[in-house]
C-alpha cells in the first residue's frame, strides 16, 4: 500500500448532458479532481450494471454515474432506467461488504459545468475519506 493514497474513480457520463457539461467545465477552466477518469456512454440508461460491478471487482475506489436531469433525458426515459439500476447496484455493493457510498448518481445538464466540478470534487473527497477499496488487495477467481 502506498503511503500517498490517491483514489481511483471512474465516471460514466452520458453524451448529451453530463459529458457536454464536463466539456464545458474544461473550457471554463474549472477545477476537477485528477483522480477521475471518464467513460462516455450515449445515455445513462446504457450504463450496464456489469460495467459498474466489473469496475469494483477490478478494485476501483468509486464510481460516478451521471445523466440528464429527470424528465430531460435526451432519450426520453433512459435516466430513469439508470436510477433504478443505481438503487439495485447499491444493494449489491452492500452484499459485497463494500460501502454503498462508493457508487453515486448525479444529474448534470450540459450547462451545469460548476455543478459538475462541485460534485466530482466532493465525491473525490468523500472517497478519500472512505479509503481504498478492500477489493484491490483480494484475488477473485
Amino acid at each position: 500500500m502506498n503511503d500517498e493514497y490517491t483514489p481511483r474513480i471512474v465516471g460514466f457520463l452520458c453524451n448529451w448532458c453530463s459529458y457536454t457539461g464536463a466539456d464545458l467545465a474544461g473550457v471554463s477552466r474549472l477545477k476537477v479532481p485528477p483522480s477521475l477518469r471518464i467513460i462516455r456512454v450515449m445515455c445513462s440508461g446504457r450504463i450496464d450494471p456489469l460495467f459498474v460491478l466489473k469496475a469494483f471487482l477490478k478494485g476501483i475506489d468509486g464510481v460516478m454515474m451521471m445523466g440528464c436531469h429527470p424528465g430531460e433525458c435526451h432519450y426520453q426515459k433512459g435516466n430513469y432506467n439508470a436510477r433504478r439500476r443505481f438503487i439495485l447496484l447499491q444493494k449489491i455493493l452492500e452484499a459485497f461488504d463494500l460501502e454503498p457510498e462508493r457508487l453515486g448518481i448525479w444529474w448534470v445538464s450540459a450547462s451545469e459545468a460548476t455543478k459538475y466540478a462541485k460534485v466530482t470534487t466532493e465525491f473525490a473527497k468523500e472517497i478519500e475519506k472512505i479509503g481504498p477499496s478492500p477489493v484491490a488487495n483480494e484475488i477473485f477467481l
Binding site: 481511483r8 471512474v10 453524451n15 448532458c17 459529458y19 457536454t20 464536463a22 466539456d23 464545458l24 467545465a25 474544461g26 473550457v27 471554463s28 477552466r29 477545477k31 476537477v32 479532481p33 485528477p34 477521475l36 477518469r37 471518464i38 467513460i39 456512454v41 450515449m42 445515455c43 440508461g45 446504457r46 450504463i47 450496464d48 450494471p49 456489469l50 460495467f51 466489473k54 469496475a55 477490478k58 478494485g59 476501483i60 436531469h69 424528465g71 430531460e72 435526451h74 432519450y75 426520453q76 426515459k77 433512459g78 432506467n81 439500476r85 445538464s109 450540459a110 450547462s111 451545469e112 459545468a113 460548476t114 455543478k115
Partner: protein, 977 residues
C-alpha cells in the same frame, strides 16, 4: 430575367437564425450580417429573455451547424447602408469590420490572457466573456489595452489581430430578411419600479443570464452584502406600464410563474408573491404553470397598479392597488419581468429599404402573411415585427422560407460531398495515436515528446505522432494528410474538448478516408493538462487515457452510413385553414400532395371566421381545388399507416374504397371544435348565445340594451386546463362592435388575455365597456326570473340583461386525435391535442427539438394549427407555413441518411432468443420481434442510439455501434490496469 439565389439576413434575432438555417438546408447561400462583434453578441438578449435556467447549449448549436454546412457567410460589426433593385435581384451595400479574435480559428488556448500585462480587477485587458459558456469568446477592454501586441505575437493560429479595418461590401441577393433585435426597456421606462436604484431590484433576464453556468441556485439571488433574501416579489412590468412603453410578449406571465416555482424550489421557506394584472398564459401548457405556482405556495396577486421604491439598502417597498384599495408590502428582493420595446432601427430601415412601420413602431406585415413587408422581396421576422416569444420567432423563421421561395432562383449551394471512406475490414489492425500540441501551446506545459515515445512503446500502437492541431481548416487538412501517410486504419486523437469540436475532429478522420467509428477522441487538455501540475503525473494519466482509448479502438468496427430514398409526396390530414395552407404551399413548389378531409366540405371551422377571413379562405379553397399537384379526397379517412420518416406507406379509405399511398411527410391538420357549454342556460334560452353566434348576428343593428359577456366558459377548468387563446380578443372586438350600436356591455372575466400589438382592451375601456373580475372558481350564474334574464354575480349582485354572450373555448376532437395517434405512433398531450415535444419543458417548444434536423418528437409527422393547440387565424397560418417550409426542405432531398447513422443498435442473430425485453424498453418503437425468425430486429431509421436495449439484453445479443460491451470493458481494464 435570371433570378439571384442568395439571401441576405440583417440582424441576429432567433427568427433570423432559424431562417438562415432553413435556407441553408434548402440549398440557398445566406449572407448573415451580425451587428455585434461575435455570434451571440446581440442575440444573447433573446436567449436570456426566457428564464430557462438550464441547458441552453443546444440553442447555440445552429452557429456551429452553419459553419459545418459552409453556406452561411457571416459578417461582424455590420451595418446595412443601401438597398437597390427589386425582388429577386437586389443589390445591397453594407459596412463591416472583421472580428478582433476570429473565433472560427481560435483554439481557446488562453495564451493571450497569460501574456497580457494589463490587469484590470480580477481579469486582464483581454478576457473571456463571462456569460457565454459554450465556447470562449475573447473580449478586449479597449480602455485598458495598450496595444502592446504581445497577444498577437503569441496567438498560435493568428486568430487575433488588434488592428482590423472597416470595409464596404456590395452583394447581389434575391431577398432580404430583416431580423433585427428588439430594444430592452430603459431605466426611464422602468422608473415606476425604481430599476437601477437598488441592488435588490433586478431584471429576470439578468438572473437567467447569471445562472447560465451554475443553474438557478441560492447564489443567483444573493445580495451584495452576502445575504440570501427570503422575501421576494416578481413583477410583470408591461402590465403596469402604459401601452407603447413596453410590449408584452406572450411568455411573460408564465415566466413569472416559472420564476416563482424555481424560487420556491431553492428556498422552500421563502415568501414569493407574483404581481400581475392578469395571468396571460395562453400558450401550450402555460396555464398548468399557474396551477403549479399556486401548488408550490407562490402567492399570485392580480393588482391594478404597482410601484416599487427602495426602502433602505436591502429592502424594497411595494405600493399596490387592488380592488380600489391601496396596500403596502416590504420585500427583500424584487424581480422585474420586463417586456420588449419596438426596435429603434425601424426608422433607419424605412429609409434604407422602404419598409413601413405600423402605429406601434414595429415593422408592418401584410395581412394574412407571416413575414412579408410592404416591399416585395423584403421580409421581416422575429421581434422586429412585434413582441414575440421564442416559439413564434422560430416558426416565423421557417415560414419566411415558404414565403420567400417564389423570389429565389435555382439552389446555389450544395454541401460538399463527404470524402470517400476506405474499407479497412481487409486490412490488418493498425492503430495510430495523434497527440495535439495545440499549435505548440501544450509543449510548455507537458513533455509531449516523452509521451510520444512512451506511447510508441505500447504494443498495440503502430504509429504515434505529435500534430499541430485539427480544428482550423489548414490544420485539419494537414493532420488528415499525416494520418493518410502513416497508413494507420484506426485513429486515437488526444485533443481538447471532444464534444465542442466534435464535427471538426470527425472531419479530420473522414478526410483521411476513415470511418469516424474507427476513431476515439480523448481529452488531453481538460483531463490532463488543466488538472495536473506535476509532469510525471501528467504523463502517467495521459498514458492511461491513451491506453484506454487504444483498447477501445482496437475493437471498433466500421459500418456503412445508411441512406434511404425520400418519397417526395406529402399527406395532409384535414382540410381546414391550416391543412389547406400547408397543402397549397407544398404543392405550389412542385410536390405532390394528398389532402384528405373527413367531412364533405373543405374549410373546417369556416363558420367562426369574419368576413375578410372567409374571403381569404374561399380563395384558398378554390386555389387548392385548381392545383394539379393536390389530390383531394373528401369524406375520407386514414386507414393504415406504417413506415418511418421519408417512407410512410399505408392506405386511405374513401367512399368505401381503399386507396394505397406512399408519402414522405405527414401533416396533422385535424383541427379542433368549439366547446358547447351545458351551463348558463345555453340551449334553453335563446338569449344565451356564444361569441361566434353573436359575431354572425352582428350587422350594425342594436341587438340588446344590456349585454353581459362571460369569459372562460369551458376553459381553464379541470376538464380543459388551458387557455383557449382566442376568446378574449374575440369578445373585446365584439364588445366594441356592440358599443357602436349603443348597447351597454359588461364583461365578466377571470383574466383578460388580450395580446398582440393591437390593444383592444384599452379601446374597450375607453369606449365604456364595463369589466368585472370574478375569482377563479366563482363563476356568475344565469337565471330566468319569470321572463327576464338575470346574471347573478358571485357577490350576489343581480344584473338584468337582454343578452348573455358566452366566450366558449376551443376543445380538441379527442377521439379522432387518439385514433390518429395510435395509428401513427405520434404522442398526444394531456389536453387531447397533439404534442410537439415529449420533454417536460415549461414552454411550448424547446429550442433543442426545434433545431433538430428532422424536427419534433416523431420524425416527419407534424401537427399544425388547432391540432397542436388553440390558435387564432393568423397563428394557424403561421404554423402551417412553418411546417410547409420544414416539409419543403425534406421533400427536396432525394436521399436521406438515418437520423443517427453513426451509432445504431443492432442484434447478433445467433445470440438473440427473442425474449422481447428490448422491445419494451425502446422509447422509439424502433425494435420489434421478427415473427418468422423469432428474434429482435432494429429499425435503423427509428433508432436514436440510446443503448437502453443493450443494457437490458440478457444474452448480450444487442449491441450499440462504438459502445459495445467489450469495448467499454476493455476501456475499463485499461483505465484500471
Amino acid at each position: 430575367m435570371a433570378k439571384e439565389s442568395s439571401v441576405l439576413i440583417y440582424g441576429t434575432n432567433l427568427g433570423g437564425y432559424r431562417a438562415a438555417y432553413a435556407l441553408c438546408k434548402k440549398g440557398h447561400k445566406v449572407i448573415l450580417l451580425n451587428r455585434g462583434s461575435y455570434v451571440d453578441d446581440i442575440r444573447n438578449q433573446t436567449l436570456s429573455q426566457l428564464p430557462l435556467d438550464f441547458c441552453w447549449m443546444c440553442g447555440h448549436f445552429p452557429q456551429r451547424l452553419f459553419k459545418a454546412l459552409g453556406c452561411v457567410q457571416d459578417f461582424y460589426n455590420a451595418e446595412l447602408l443601401e438597398v437597390s433593385g427589386q425582388a429577386g435581384d437586389f443589390t445591397v451595400k453594407f459596412k463591416t469590420k472583421p472580428q478582433v479574435v476570429n473565433n472560427f480559428i481560435c483554439t481557446e488556448c488562453d495564451e493571450c490572457i497569460e501574456v497580457c500585462p494589463e490587469v484590470v480587477g480580477d481579469r486582464k485587458a483581454i478576457y473571456v466573456h463571462p456569460e457565454i459558456g459554450w465556447e470562449n469568446i475573447y473580449l478586449i477592454d479597449w480602455e485598458n489595452c495598450t496595444k502592446c501586441g504581445k497577444c498577437e505575437e503569441v496567438c498560435p493560429t493568428d486568430a487575433l489581430k488588434l488592428e482590423r479595418s472597416e470595409e464596404v461590401q456590395e452583394v447581389k441577393v434575391a431577398a432580404i430578411i430583416l431580423a433585427l433585435e428588439y430594444n430592452d426597456p430603459t431605466i426611464e421606462d422602468l422608473k415606476n419600479f425604481s430599476f437601477g436604484k437598488s441592488p435588490s431590484i433586478v431584471k429576470n433576464s439578468e438572473i437567467a443570464r447569471n445562472s447560465l453556468l451554475t443553474n438557478f441556485v441560492k447564489d443567483s439571488v444573493k445580495l451584495p452584502s452576502g445575504k440570501i433574501p427570503q422575501n421576494f416579489a416578481v413583477v410583470v412590468t408591461p402590465h403596469f406600464n402604459n401601452h407603447g412603453t413596453e410590449y408584452e410578449s406572450y411568455n411573460l406571465s408564465v415566466s413569472a410563474a416559472y420564476r416563482g416555482v424555481r424560487l420556491k424550489e431553492i428556498l422552500p421557506e421563502s415568501d414569493v408573491t407574483i404581481f400581475l394584472k392578469d395571468y396571460r398564459g395562453f400558450g401550450k401548457r402555460h396555464y398548468r404553470w399557474y396551477k403549479k405556482a399556486l401548488d408550490a405556495g407562490v402567492h399570485i396577486e392580480k393588482v391594478d397598479d404597482i410601484k416599487a421604491s427602495p426602502k433602505n439598502k436591502e429592502e424594497v417597498n411595494l405600493q399596490y392597488e387592488k380592488d380600489g384599495k391601496s396596500h403596502e408590502k416590504t420585500v427583500e428582493y424584487t424581480i422585474l419581468i420586463n417586456g420588449q420595446k419596438s426596435p429603434n432601427l425601424m426608422k433607419d430601415m424605412s429609409e434604407i429599404c422602404g419598409v413601413k412601420a405600423d402605429e406601434n413602431g414595429f415593422c408592418n406585415i401584410k395581412p394574412f402573411s407571416c413575414s412579408e413587408t410592404d416591399v416585395d422581396g423584403i421580409f421581416a421576422v422575429g421581434e422586429f415585427t412585434g413582441p414575440k416569444g421564442n416559439p413564434e420567432a422560430i416558426w416565423e423563421g421557417c415560414a419566411t422560407l415558404t414565403e420567400s421561395l417564389k423570389y429565389l432562383g435555382e439552389t446555389n449551394f450544395k454541401p460538399p460531398a463527404p470524402p470517400s471512406l476506405r474499407n479497412v475490414d481487409v486490412e490488418e489492425k493498425k492503430i495510430g495515436v495523434f497527440i495535439c500540441s495545440c499549435f505548440g501551446t501544450f509543449n510548455d506545459k507537458m513533455d509531449l515528446n516523452d509521451l510520444k515515445e512512451t506511447v510508441e512503446a505500447i504494443p498495440d500502437v503502430s504509429h504515434a505522432e505529435i500534430i499541430k492541431g485539427c480544428c482550423t481548416p489548414p490544420s485539419i487538412k494537414e493532420t488528415a494528410e499525416l494520418i493518410k501517410k502513416s497508413g494507420v486504419n484506426r485513429v486515437v486523437l488526444a485533443v481538447c474538448t471532444p464534444i465542442q469540436k466534435l464535427l471538426k475532429f470527425r472531419k479530420t478522420v473522414m478526410m483521411a478516408g476513415l470511418n469516424p467509428l474507427l476513431s476515439e477522441f480523448l481529452r488531453l487538455r481538460e483531463d490532463v493538462i488543466n488538472v495536473h501540475k506535476d509532469k510525471v503525473k501528467m504523463l502517467e494519466k495521459s498514458l492511461t487515457l491513451i491506453k484506454a482509448a487504444v483498447a477501445k479502438t482496437k475493437k471498433s468496427v466500421q459500418n456503412p452510413t445508411l441512406k434511404e430514398s425520400f418519397t417526395p409526396h406529402a399527406l395532409v390530414i384535414g382540410a381546414g385553414l391550416s391543412g389547406l395552407t400547408c397543402a397549397s404551399e407544398i404543392a405550389d413548389n412542385g410536390f405532390q400532395v394528398t389532402l384528405i378531409e373527413k367531412n364533405e366540405n373543405l374549410g373546417g371551422n369556416e363558420k367562426y371566421f369574419d368576413k375578410q377571413q372567409k374571403e381569404y379562405l374561399d380563395k384558398l379553397i378554390s386555389k387548392v381545388k385548381d392545383n394539379q399537384n393536390i389530390k383531394v379526397y373528401q369524406k375520407a379517412e386514414l386507414k393504415r399507416m406504417s413506415g418511418y420518416a421519408g417512407n410512410f406507406y399505408g392506405a386511405i379509405l374513401s367512399e368505401k374504397k381503399e386507396i394505397p399511398i406512399d408519402v414522405g411527410v405527414i401533416v396533422l391538420a385535424t383541427g379542433a371544435k368549439e366547446h358547447k357549454p351545458k351551463e348558463f342556460l345555453y340551449g334553453e334560452d335563446q338569449r344565451v348565445i356564444t361569441q361566434t353566434e353573436l359575431q354572425n348576428n352582428l350587422n350594425g343593428k342594436k341587438i340588446g340594451n344590456q349585454v353581459v359577456m362571460i369569459q372562460c366558459v369551458g376553459s381553464k377548468n379541470d376538464e380543459h386546463p388551458y387557455c383557449s387563446r382566442v376568446c378574449c380578443n374575440q369578445a373585446l372586438k365584439n364588445a366594441l362592435s356592440l358599443k357602436e350600436t349603443g348597447s351597454e356591455v359588461t364583461i365578466l372575466y377571470r383574466d383578460m388575455t388580450n395580446y398582440g400589438k393591437e390593444n383592444y382592451y384599452q379601446k374597450a375601456l375607453d369606449s365604456g365597456v364595463k369589466f368585472i373580475r370574478f375569482e377563479d372558481n366563482k363563476y356568475p350564474e344565469v337565471k330566468k326570473n319569470a321572463d327576464a334574464l338575470e346574471v347573478i354575480k358571485s357577490d350576489g349582485e343581480k344584473i338584468k340583461v337582454d343578452l348573455v354572450v358566452l366566450s366558449t373555448g376551443i376543445e380538441p376532437d379527442e377521439e379522432n386525435n387518439r385514433n390518429l395517434s395510435n395509428l401513427l405512433g405520434y404522442p398526444m398531450d394531456k389536453d387531447g391535442f397533439f404534442d410537439s415535444d415529449v420533454n417536460v419543458y415549461p414552454y411550448e417548444e424547446s429550442i433543442k427539438r426545434l433545431f433538430k434536423p428532422y424536427e419534433w418528437a416523431t420524425n416527419c409527422i407534424y401537427p399544425v394549427g388547432l391540432a397542436h393547440s388553440p390558435r387564432a387565424f393568423e397563428e394557424s397560418i403561421l404554423t402551417a407555413r412553418d411546417i410547409a417550409g420544414r416539409a419543403l426542405i425534406l421533400l427536396g432531398k432525394k436521399m436521406l441518411p438515418a437520423p443517427n447513422a453513426m451509432y445504431i443498435a443492432e442484434v447478433k442473430d445467433a445470440l438473440c432468443m427473442g425474449c422481447g425485453i428490448c422491445v419494451d424498453v425502446c422509447a422509439y418503437s424502433a425494435r420489434a420481434i421478427d415473427i418468422e425468425k423469432k428474434i429482435a430486429v432494429v429499425h435503423p431509421f427509428l433508432c436514436d442510439s440510446c443503448g437502453s436495449c443493450v443494457s437490458v439484453c440478457p444474452n448480450d445479443a444487442s449491441y450499440l455501434r462504438d459502445f459495445m460491451s467489450n469495448q467499454t470493458i476493455s476501456t475499463l481494464d485499461a483505465l484500471l490496469a
